[in-house]
């Protein structure tokens, strides 16, 4: 369980104030923070804002039926794994089947037996905790402790959506260790691993806390730089490139390691560039950096006309 100052949130969506009062009284001693709402629409907003550990959801509500709320919760990528316990006054098999088919974790009929309800809430909290642990583990690269490709994909999709909505600056950087195979072949895989872990550390330490650094695969890394145009992003990437070049490697002090970086980004303004096109442009810029001698940063800017390659180093 998290510590007291970050109790897991239990979101209760039910149109009866009597039920809210009962649940508050009966769940008082549970290590959860209760967030209550009487309306399904507001419940969805609260769920998106508060990231609850578990949702208790009534079915028979005016305006928005519980099943409609459940469907939206399960269609939202960031909420789809939150366990939902359906609270219903209807003890009918077809409602239970529908609830489970829509993704509910549990189904409790009113009036509640409170010992049972508490036990079911605890079971769902345990499930929620394990799912969160799994999500975290599944998105972390074991060697570098950076986010992995899955973590990158999830964040990238969000950032591109934000860019399309608000037209804020955004840049993505793809980087690749130059002649990395040679390090592995000459000094062995432990030396190669050390290079990757050290590059990861340099990148993390050089980037701002708002940047998202992930291992893209092999010796490739990727940085999402939200609210950052290509000019500022290029300055950060130049510092990373210089720091890697200046590193002295204990296992091979005479063998320098360098990296090539390709950037694709836009200053403020709306673009219709898709996430995939954006990555493709960064990848092309990286290819150009490699072709033109390595150990350099190449920038591709999205203007109104589309990507425009300009050699920057």
């Amino acid at each position: 369980m998290p510590s007291d100052d970050s109790k897991p949130i239990l979101l209760i969506i039910d149109d009866s104030e009597d039920v809210h009062r009962l649940l508050r009284a009966r769940l008082r001693s549970e290590p959860v923070e209760l967030v209550s709402t009487m309306c399904g629409k507001d419940g969805l907003e609260k769920a998106r804002a508060a990231r609850p550990a578990v949702v208790l959801l009534d079915l028979d509500m005016p305006v928005m039926h519980g099943f409609a709320v459940l469907r939206e919760l399960k269609n939202d990528n960031s909420l789809t794994n939150v366990p939902v316990i359906v609270l219903s006054g209807v003890d009918q098999a077809h409602d239970k089947v529908t609830a489970f088919e829509l993704g509910a974790t549990d189904y409790v009929t009113k009036p509640f037996d409170f010992a049972e309800l508490r036990a079911r809430v605890r079971a769902s909290l345990r499930m929620s905790q394990l799912l969160r642990l799994l999500e975290t583990r599944a998105e972390v690269d074991g060697l570098t402790e950076l986010g992995n490709r899955a973590a990158f994909n999830r964040r990238w999709e969000q950032e591109v959506k934000e860019q399309h909505r608000y037209g804020r600056p955004l840049t993505v950087a793809m980087m690749d260790a130059d002649h990395f195979k040679k390090v592995n072949d000459t000094y062995g895989h432990p030396a190669g691993d050390e290079v990757l872990a050290t590059i990861a550390k340099i990148v993390r330490n050089t980037c701002r806390s708002s940047d998202v650094v992930c291992r893209y695969g092999g010796e490739e890394f990727v940085i999402i730089m939200p609210h950052t145009g290509p000019t500022d992003a290029e300055a950060v990437c130049q510092r990373i490139r210089e720091a890697v070049e200046a590193t002295v490697w204990p296992r091979h002090p005479d063998h320098k390691v360098t990296i090539s970086i390709g950037l694709a980004g836009t200053e403020a303004g709306l673009t219709e560039t898709t996430g995939a096109q954006w990555l493709e442009a960064a990848d092309k810029a990286l290819y150009t950096a490699k072709k033109s001698g390595r150990n350099r940063v190449v920038v591709s800017r999205f203007e109104t006309r589309g990507p425009d390659l300009a050699l920057a180093s």
Binding site: S16, D18, V19, R21, A25, R28, L87, G89, K110, P111
Partner: protein
């Protein structure tokens, strides 16, 4: 569903959780709000808003047991059932008369509720 006999007693109904210190406060709140619920039920019944009446009965069914008034919850459940059947075009004999009988019984029980 067979109609149940009309209850004639006026004895107060106490919460099954009357001695539970965790519940005392919210049980008395539930009881103090009962006149408002009764007024709302009456208004809805008189306006023949049966779907809204069904929703109110459904809420009372769902919460009363939790406050230790399971008899009230069961009566609300019977009224809800009749209203659902009526809404689907079913019901034996004179459905509205049956609804009225269950409705009156529920109101009688509501009036007897005490903390």
């Amino acid at each position: 569903m067979a109609s149940s006999p009309i209850t004639v007693t006026n004895d107060p109904i106490r919460s099954e959780f009357a001695n539970d210190p965790d519940m005392a406060e919210i049980v008395s709140m539930f009881v103090s709000e009962m006149p408002e619920k009764i007024a709302n039920l009456n208004k809805t019944f008189q306006a023949m808003q049966f779907d809204e009446l069904r929703r109110l009965a459904h809420q009372i069914k769902g919460s009363s047991g939790g406050y230790g008034f399971s008899e009230l919850g069961k009566a609300a459940g019977r009224l809800e059932h009749l209203l659902v059947t009526h809404g689907e075009g079913g019901g034996d004999g004179d459905p509205v008369a049956n609804i009225r009988r269950e409705f009156e019984q529920l109101i009688a029980l509501c009036k007897r509720v005490t903390a």
